[in-house]
C-alpha cells in the first residue's frame, strides 16, 4: 500500500478540498429540498383529487414540475440549465453554479418522497382535522407534519444519498467534489488505489448518513 500512501501524501489536500466541495453541494441542495421540496410535496398532496384542498391547476403544475425534473437524465439537466445558471450566477462554472442544477433535482426528489409519505398517513387523520374545525395551516402543522415526521427524516436520508451520487458528475461543469476527484486523480492518472480509496470514502459517508437517518427516524416513530 505504499502506492496509496504516496498518492495520499501528494493529493491529500485536494481530497479534503473535494470533500469540502461535496459537503457544500449536499448542504445547499438539502436546504433547497427542505425549504422548497417539502412545501411542494405538501402542496401536491393537499391539492390532489379528494385531498384536503383540491385544486386541479395547482396539482397539475406541481406534479408536472416534479415529473419533468425527475425524468431528465441528470447530466442533460445540468446542460439544459446552463442559460438559467448563467443568468443567476453570472457564470456556469465552479461549485456554487454546479450546485444550482443539483438543487432542482433535490427539490423534485424530495417533493415526490414527501408526497408519498403523506399519502401513507391514515386517511382518518385529515378527516379528524376537518371535523374538529381545523384550518388548513392547523391541519398541516398540527396533524399532517407530526404524523409524517419520522418518514420525512428517513426520506431526507435517501435524498442525501441520491444527491451524493448525482453530485459526482458535476465535475463536468467544474463543480469539483469527491466524484470529480476520483475520476481526475484516480481514473485519468491510472492511480487505481487512489480511486478505490476515494470510492471507499464515499461508501463510508453513505453508510454513516444511512445509519444516522435510520436511528433518528426510529427514535421519532412511536407507531
Amino acid at each position: 500500500m505504499t502506492g496509496l500512501g504516496e498518492s495520499l501524501g501528494r493529493r491529500g489536500e485536494d481530497l479534503l478540498e473535494a470533500l469540502g466541495e461535496t459537503g457544500y453541494m449536499l448542504v445547499v441542495s438539502l436546504a433547497a429540498a427542505v425549504v422548497l421540496g417539502l412545501p411542494l410535496g405538501m402542496l401536491v398532496y393537499l391539492t390532489r383529487r379528494g385531498g384536503t384542498a383540491p385544486n386541479r391547476v395547482v396539482w397539475w403544475v406541481g406534479n408536472l414540475f416534479i415529473n419533468i425534473v425527475r425524468s431528465f437524465p441528470f447530466l442533460l439537466l445540468v446542460v439544459f440549465l446552463i442559460p438559467v445558471t448563467r443568468l443567476v450566477y453570472g457564470t456556469t462554472f465552479g461549485t456554487p453554479a454546479a450546485t444550482f442544477s443539483l438543487c432542482f433535482v433535490a427539490v423534485a426528489i424530495y417533493a415526490r418522497l414527501v408526497e408519498q409519505i403523506l399519502r401513507e398517513i391514515n386517511p382518518g387523520i385529515p378527516r379528524v382535522a376537518r371535523t374538529m374545525g381545523a384550518t388548513l395551516p392547523q391541519t398541516i402543522v398540527r396533524f399532517l407534519l407530526p404524523e409524517a415526521i419520522p418518514g420525512l427524516v428517513y426520506a431526507l436520508t435517501s435524498a442525501t444519498i441520491s444527491l451524493l451520487s448525482y453530485s459526482t458528475v458535476l465535475g463536468v461543469v467544474g463543480g469539483g467534489g469527491i466524484g470529480d476527484f476520483a475520476l481526475r486523480y484516480g481514473y485519468q492518472e491510472y492511480d487505481y488505489p487512489l480511486m478505490y480509496f476515494t470510492i471507499a470514502v464515499i461508501l463510508a459517508v453513505v453508510l454513516i448518513v444511512q445509519s444516522i437517518g435510520h436511528r433518528l427516524s426510529v427514535r421519532l416513530d412511536h407507531r
Binding site: 371535523t131 374538529m132 412511536h222
Partner: protein, 253 residues
Amino acid sequence: MPPTDDPITLSGVGVTYSGGARALVDIDLAVTSGEIFGVIGESGAGKSTLLSLLTAEVGATAGTVRVLGHDPAGLSRAALRGLRRRIGVVFQGVHLLANRTVRQNVALALDLRGPRGRVPASERRGAVDDMLGFVGLAGREDAYPSQLSGGQRQRVGIARALVARPDILLCDEPTSSLDATTTDGVLTLLREARDRFGTTVVVVTHDLTVVRRICDRVALFADGRLREILSVEPDAGFAEETYLDRARRELGA
C-alpha cells in the same frame, strides 16, 4: 319550519351522490337536547351518510338540515369551522396521532381555537388532565397511542371529542372493534358524559347491544329511509356484569 331548541333537526332531507345513488331519502327527525339518540341499520342503510351530513362533510341535496341552529351548507368556511368545534366526533378507528402523547392528542381540540377562544396553557393542561381522569386514563397522560389497548385508545378518542365541551357528541360505531367488557366500559362512559356535561349524543351503530344499553331513542334506517323511531328503556344494570357472568347468561348455562 318553526325554529326549535333541538340541537339537530332534519326535515325532508335527501342526499343524492353525484353518481345518482340516493343515500338518504326524505328524512324527518329531531334529536332533543341531552338525549342519547341511536341510529341503526345494516351496511348501506344510510348511517354513514347521515353522520357525514351532521359533520357537514356531505351536503343535503334536498330538505333542510339544522345543526345547533345553523344550516351547515349555508355557512362561510370560518363559521363552519366554528360550528364543527361545537361538535365532538368519536370515530370507529379512533384515529389518534401516533407520534403524539395521549395528553397532546386530547389537547389538540383546545389548541385549534382561535386567539379569542385561546385558553392559557396551564388551564388547558388542567382541562386535559381532568378529562383524562374522567375517561379513566389518569396516569397514562404521557403514553403514546401504540402503548394503549384498543379500549384505552377509544377512551382517548372520547376525551379528545369531549375536552372542548361540545354541545353534540357524534359517535360512529364507537365500540365495533372492542370486546364485550371493553364495550361496556366505553358505553358507560358515553352515558356518564351525557349525565355530567349534558351533551347530546348521537350513536351510529349496527350493534343492537349498544342501543339497548345506552340509547333513549333509536332511529331505524333501511335503504336510505328512516323506517321508525323507537323509545328505549335503558338497561341500567349492565355495567356490573362481568364477562363470565354475561357468558353464562347468554349461553344459558
